[in-house]
């Protein structure tokens, strides 16, 4: 049964370090069982938010609840509810993987017997069997160290797991392993994953919360975010023929289509042309129809390119960048303005 109480709820969370706002009145919710990505450039406030949610830092103002319990007022009980892997995944170098997990199981309150079973289980989930358990943590590769950190975070089967930059420094094979691991955990616990490696978040998360300069600039599923930050459609055509003719005919098919980009493929007359339209309806049949007939350019390929999380992220962060006062940008504007005046 899905719990009606959100796993995480933050209302107007603010953290100041001296005069600087690390986070400024951020509010968001994470539902039970969701896999949510926390995105943002470096210094956006992701780690600060996560540290507040785990009770490591206290917020200057605002409040956070974990499974309905206040982090500030009931910090002891939330420690039972959260598994946390901090940024850079700090681990004791001189312990063996199995020794470390045994120690962590005991201080997380698992009995010897339950702990033993859980360790076997997490070693399996995190692919740490086959001799890795006996190795010293200091001798493990970055990928295996990340797995040990994740194994520790999920060890006591907490309902909420927070992973701060779990994919940083992983090679493509290890990233695939990480994705598989998250798929195995999906539905068993609420996962909050912070990263600035956007394709990873895009592949594993149900929803994203985008932070920039300490503020939530967007939150929602990819399609929700796309509707807000990248409305309309983008069409990519691979076509054999003249650009001017293609442009003229496509525009005649639908006035909303605008030529965005074009380049000729080397060694031939084939071009790759990109059109965009603010309309959300599918214009592919119209484009195809407009280019059908003898002597007209031949469509070799046509596809709709959906805005990736990266496009959404760039659009969302650019929006906040423009809306926030910044003396440096004012200087830039002034310089640009004066250049325009000169022209």
């Amino acid at each position: 049964m899905v719990s009606l109480v959100p796993s995480i709820r933050a209302v107007d969370l603010t953290k100041r370090f001296g005069p600087n706002h690390a986070i400024d009145r951020i509010s968001f919710e994470v539902g039970a069982g969701e896999v949510v990505g926390f995105l943002g450039p470096n210094g956006a406030g992701k780690s600060t938010t996560m540290r507040i949610l785990t009770g490591l830092l206290s917020a200057t103002s605002g409040e956070a609840w974990v499974a309905g319990r206040s982090v500030a007022r009931d910090p002891d009980s939330i420690r039972h509810l959260i598994g946390f892997m901090p940024e850079n995944n700090p681990l004791p170098e001189d312990m063996r993987v199995i020794e470390y997990l045994r120690f962590r199981a005991r201080i997380k309150g698992l009995s010897r017997k339950i702990g033993k079973n859980r360790i076997e289980e997490v070693l399996d989930i995190c692919d740490l069997k086959h001799g890795v358990g006996r190795k010293l943590i200091g001798n493990l590769s970055k990928g295996y160290r990340q797995r040990v950190g994740i194994a520790d975070a999920i060890l006591a089967e907490p309902p909420i797991v927070i992973l701060d930059e779990p994919t940083i420094g992983l090679d493509p094979h290890q990233i695939l392993g990480f994705r598989r691991m998250i798929q195995q955990l999906r539905g068993r616990m609420t996962l909050v994953i912070s990263s600035h490696i956007l394709p990873e978040i895009e592949k594993v998360c149900d929803r994203s919360v985008i932070l920039n300069r300490g503020q939530v600039v967007a939150a929602g599923t990819r399609s929700e975010l796309r509707a807000i930050f990248s409305p309309g459609q983008t069409y990519e055509l691979r076509i054999d023929g003249s650009l001017s003719e293609v442009e003229m005919r496509v525009k005649a098919a639908d006035e909303s289509l605008i030529l965005r980009d074009s380049y000729r493929e080397p060694g031939g007359n084939v071009r790759r042309i990109t059109f965009s339209s603010e309309s959300n309806s599918n214009l592919v049949p119209r484009i195809i129809q407009s280019l059908q007939g003898p002597g007209l350019p031949v469509i070799q390929e046509i596809r709709i390119r959906r805005a990736s999380l990266e496009d959404i992220f760039l659009a969302a962060t650019k929006k906040t960048w423009k809306s926030m006062p910044n003396p440096l940008r004012e200087d830039e504007d002034r310089i640009t303005g004066s250049e325009d005046d000169q022209e």
């Binding site: 002891d76 681990l91 520790d152």
Partner: protein, 254 residues
């Protein structure tokens, strides 16, 4: 005190894997062995009023100045630098238990090092056949008094070391702070007696607290078989205070 014994076992393990522990241990035993040998040599040259055990414990400050910083400097500073402290603080364990486990682990090792020095009077007693010499070399009252003093003062010294370690991320800075703190505590309190104060009046009332802080006087009392409760209050309350400050710092700077 939930999880205390798991954390204590972990801390003892960390201590046993740390090179600084072995450096401290070897330096301590070599230095104390040499001091004991020099003391015995002095006893063979001229008659002495005190027993070798009393004289031996009188130099407790020499090892305290380097052993305590070496053992404590890593405790919190290094864990904070590596980030392993925050992984422990996100588990259902109170900060006091985390700090207290570190304190007890180091304290037990400190006591173990001093217990090793018991071998010096035992070995020298075994080597001599003269009954009178045996009695002087292995004087149970002075030895017991000396060990009680070392155990008691050790609580304050080690909690001070842990407090210094909780102030910074650098082991080196923590070690230097601890050394300075111990110097002020042991030698500085002696300097307080040099302050010319009147016998009576409001300023004169400071004489009693200044004498209360004299670590060397406490040692003499214990070696003489006088068990006074005032040093117990001083050392135990002082160590508790430093531990509480350490807990506050760990929570604030986690």
């Amino acid at each position: 005190m939930k999880n205390f014994h798991h954390l204590l076992r972990h801390e003892i393990r960390v201590l046993l894997f740390s090179p600084a522990t072995y450096v401290a241990g070897v330096l301590f035993l070599v230095l104390m062995g040499l001091i004991y040998w020099a003391l015995l040599k002095g006893f063979t040259m001229s008659p002495q009023e005190e027993t070798p055990a009393t004289e031996f414990f009188r130099v407790f400050w020499i090892p305290a100045f380097f052993v305590v910083p070496l053992l404590t400097m890593r405790s919190i500073a290094e864990e904070r630098r590596l980030g392993t402290l925050q992984t422990i603080l996100t588990t259902p364990t109170s900060t006091f238990v985390v700090v207290f486990a570190k304190f007890i682990a180091i304290y037990l090792f400190y006591l173990f090092l001093w217990a090793c020095t018991l071998a010096f009077p035992v070995l020298t007693t075994e080597m001599t056949t003269a009954k009178q010499a045996q009695t002087i070399l292995f004087d149970p009252a002075s030895l017991l008094g000396g060990f009680v003093f070392v155990a008691l003062s050790g609580t304050l010294f080690i909690s001070l070391g842990i407090f210094c370690s909780s102030l910074t991320r650098s082991q080196l800075v923590a070690g230097m702070l601890c050394f300075t703190g111990l110097f002020l505590l042991i030698a500085g309190s002696r300097l307080l007696l040099e302050v010319p104060l009147p016998e009576t009046g409001p300023l004169g009332s400071l004489n009693a607290p200044f004498e209360y802080l004299q670590t060397f006087e406490h040692l003499l009392d214990f070696s003489g078989g006088i068990i006074d409760t005032r040093p117990f209050v001083y050392y135990l309350s002082g160590s508790l205070l430093f531990l509480v400050f350490s807990v506050i710092l760990v929570e604030r700077k986690a």
